[in-house]
Symmetry: C2
Subunit: 161 residues, 2 copies
């Protein structure tokens, strides 16, 4: 259903490993690779991506390495997915962008897109610490606009292309 790629899985493992690190200590990629049993080049690649997206921070040189940029409670699943899965928009329309000659009443792409956004909103409630130590059940209590049926959040998110 929600299909996450292997790299996203790996990336999450890496984040979880960093989350369990001592304090502000920096872990070199080689250490992370060893601990997670993932191939070093893959770990290097992922750590670079995570760094570029602000989830982890890095230092070069001797005793350099990586660590979480924030506490595990302040990193959301939405961020992790955005970072590792990329800004993949749901298929918007089977016809090329903007021009749907057929049916102006076809809201199919639109509908899937709204569903996707609702899910994404729900992902904001799940945090790295939840992935680290998952609860019995994950709640998904959102609508695309708001949780109380009002109009507060407009979620004008640009889903790019």
């Amino acid at each position: 259903m929600l299909r996450i790629s292997k790299l996203t899985d790996y990336g999450t493992m890496i984040l979880v490993h960093l989350a369990s690190a001592k304090d502000k200590h920096l872990l070199p990629a080689s250490d992370v690779a060893e601990s997670t049993h993932l191939a070093l080049p893959t770990v290097q690649k992922l750590l670079k991506i995570l760094t570029k997206n602000g989830l982890v921070e890095s230092a070069r040189g001797t005793d350099g390495g990586y660590r979480l940029a924030r506490a595990p409670e302040q990193i959301t699943a939405a961020e992790i997915l955005d970072t590792l899965e990329g800004p993949v928009a749901i298929t918007e329309c089977s016809h090329d962008d903007g021009h749907c000659d057929l049916e102006p009443n076809c809201q199919v792409g639109n509908a899937w897109q709204k569903i996707s956004l609702a899910i994404r909103a729900a992902m904001n409630d799940i945090r790295l610490c939840d992935l680290q130590n998952p609860p019995m059940e994950f709640p998904l209590r959102h609508t695309i606009l708001s949780k109380s049926g009002h109009k507060p959040r407009l979620h004008k998110q640009a889903l790019g292309k």
Copy 2:
């Protein structure tokens, strides 16, 4: 986020088209292709898949064709995704099945899987008629276990695999 494939999008368009058909009338694949502006071979392939999975029913021969097997209110988004995206399970663990030598405390794959299931549960509330004519907002009000508040967030250790 939730990434649906092009074929799933096409398939949804086809379902919506069938949903708008007169009564119990059968539409041949060629008709569907023309109406949706999709390539005929693709439409044929998708209709076969939809038929095999019980979402539409078919008749052969002259005046044969396809129609929805049930009313649009009785076809859920979950079914559509299951049918068109296949039974794609989320990546369970980066190590081969059952054998995670490293860390017994790694619940990463497990966590994503639970999230995926929660989303799938939410998809049971969305129906073909909603995709046809999407509401302002899609509600996602589920947890993996129940919908009535059940003391979530307990961070209980999940049972293994």
